[in-house]
């Protein structure tokens, strides 16, 4: 999120500099991949989405308006692409069992890895709007202002969605744990 450095690299890309392109990919592939994964809940889909995001970014680099932050633009494309894939997937296949019933094995220990899996599963139960703000806040580390810029929403809407999303997550996590035998 170094605005000046990004601007210089983007400018070089506009002149066909592939090294600049490579640096931007190197800088943003990890955060884009992580955001995509937390929205899609699947590594392969996240990798596909990340590739598509960067193809779109560089295909449209000539149209990018440098008055806006590059990372906001990239994230906006990443969020839109991830949500598009979610919609396509809903049309193509039912949710995995793991998404509708995350707690399959009551004997499993709630170790760190398992806990992360359960939080991710709970995240997948949120609607797209709520999941998106949570991902941008907690995975991408964006501020309210940045989330607002990326999603083109007023800050108060961002705050409101974030509050509701956290409350829903809390309820989901609690209800799941209560329903789990032996807890």
């Amino acid at each position: 999120m170094h605005k000046d450095k990004d601007a210089a690299l983007v400018n070089d890309c506009k002149h066909g500099d592939r090294r600049a392109m490579s640096q931007l990919v190197d800088q943003y592939q990890r955060p884009v991949f992580n955001a995509a994964y937390r929205i899609l809940g699947n590594m392969d889909d996240a990798a596909d989405a990340t590739q598509t995001v960067f193809l779109k970014v560089f295909e449209n680099i000539g149209k990018y308006n440098q008055e806006f932050k590059f990372f906001s633009w990239v994230y906006r494309i990443a969020i839109n692409e991830s949500l598009n894939q979610v919609k396509k997937r809903r049309h193509q296949q039912p949710l995995d069992d793991s998404q509708t019933s995350p707690w399959q094995d009551p004997e499993e220990k709630l170790d760190s890895e398992r806990l992360c899996k359960r939080v991710q599963d709970a995240l997948m139960l949120l609607n797209d709007d709520y999941r998106t703000v949570v991902v941008l806040k907690h995975i991408s580390g964006c501020s309210y202002e940045q989330i607002g810029e990326i999603l083109q929403l007023p800050e108060k809407t961002v705050k409101s969605r974030l509050y509701s999303a956290r409350q829903l997550l809390r309820k989901t996590l609690i209800s799941i744990e209560i329903e789990t035998p032996g807890q």
Partner: protein
């Protein structure tokens, strides 16, 4: 989550929007001094707000504890191999694409070492007799007859391929009775380019190639198949040995994962 369970037993009364905003701002460290004072007073005086604060912080802590994942190792190179940067003119674009491609480390190494291990398709000197399609078909890998690639002649036609799965550039040049096809492909999935030259009176003079991974060249029923994955560069020389060959365009087919994704034609006359 144990805390949340215990707190859940004490049902929480809904709080107004203002308190929600204060709690959010505090948790996300976006609160100012005045707001913090106000929230401190609320926390001191209201068990409901205290419980809510604890719950929200517990959820936040879980979310912040999600690990950052490492993207697949292939991702960066897969992205870079597919990206086409816009440039100011068609000529510049072509130069940029080729130049950028040639600048990649593996290819520089490949050129420098020529027949080293990284070059999966070797170059074999053949006898003085022209190479026939049958000769080529019987050979695994690439065949060549030592054709000079420095004087490839005039540019007859160019085809640029730009799809999600496969992109690249094919140039057809002619000098005297020699037609040279320069093929550059980038693909994530296994890909293949098929050139049909039946009826044109051509014999294969030479084929050379370099690829990131294993590639293959084969000649089947009047068509040459160039297969590979990743960045690929083939040079195919066709010699016109029959005056009766027709001047209809050469047909190209591009396949990704054995599925035809694009057809093209290359004009072999200067008209």
């Amino acid at each position: 989550m144990t805390d949340m369970n215990e707190q859940n037993k004490n049902s929480q009364a809904p709080v107004d929007q203002h308190i929600q905003n204060l709690l959010n701002s505090s948790i996300d460290a976006e609160i100012n001094v005045i707001e913090q004072h106000e929230l401190d007073r609320l926390l001191e005086n209201s068990e409901n707000v205290r419980n809510l604060n604890k719950d929200l912080r517990a959820v936040t802590s879980l979310l912040d504890g999600l690990p950052e994942l490492e993207p697949p190792g292939y991702l960066q190179s897969a992205i870079e191999s597919q990206v086409r940067l816009p440039v100011q003119s068609d000529i510049d674009e072509k130069r940029s694409f080729v130049g950028g491609w040639l600048n990649t480390n593996w290819l520089r190494t490949g050129f420098a070492l020529a027949a080293a291990v990284v070059v999966t398709v070797g170059i074999y000197q053949m006898g003085s007799a022209p190479l026939t399609s049958r000769d080529a078909a019987s050979m695994a890998g690439t065949v060549a007859k030592g054709t000079s690639l420095d004087q490839r002649g005039i540019l007859l036609d160019v085809f640029r391929l730009d799809t999600d799965k496969l992109n690249g550039l094919v140039e057809l040049r002619n000098k005297n009775d020699l037609f040279t096809l320069d093929v550059q492909l980038n693909s994530v999935e296994p890909s293949e380019m098929v050139l049909s030259f039946a009826g044109h009176g051509f014999e294969i003079e030479a084929v050379s190639g370099m690829q990131e991974t294993d590639g293959a060249v084969s000649v089947i029923d009047g068509s040459v198949h160039l297969a590979g994955i990743g960045e690929q560069h083939f040079t195919l020389s066709l010699k016109r040995t029959s005056a009766t060959g027709n001047d209809t365009p050469l047909e190209l087919g591009f396949f990704a994962n054995n599925k035809l994704i694009q057809k093209a034609e290359l004009n072999i006359s200067q008209d």
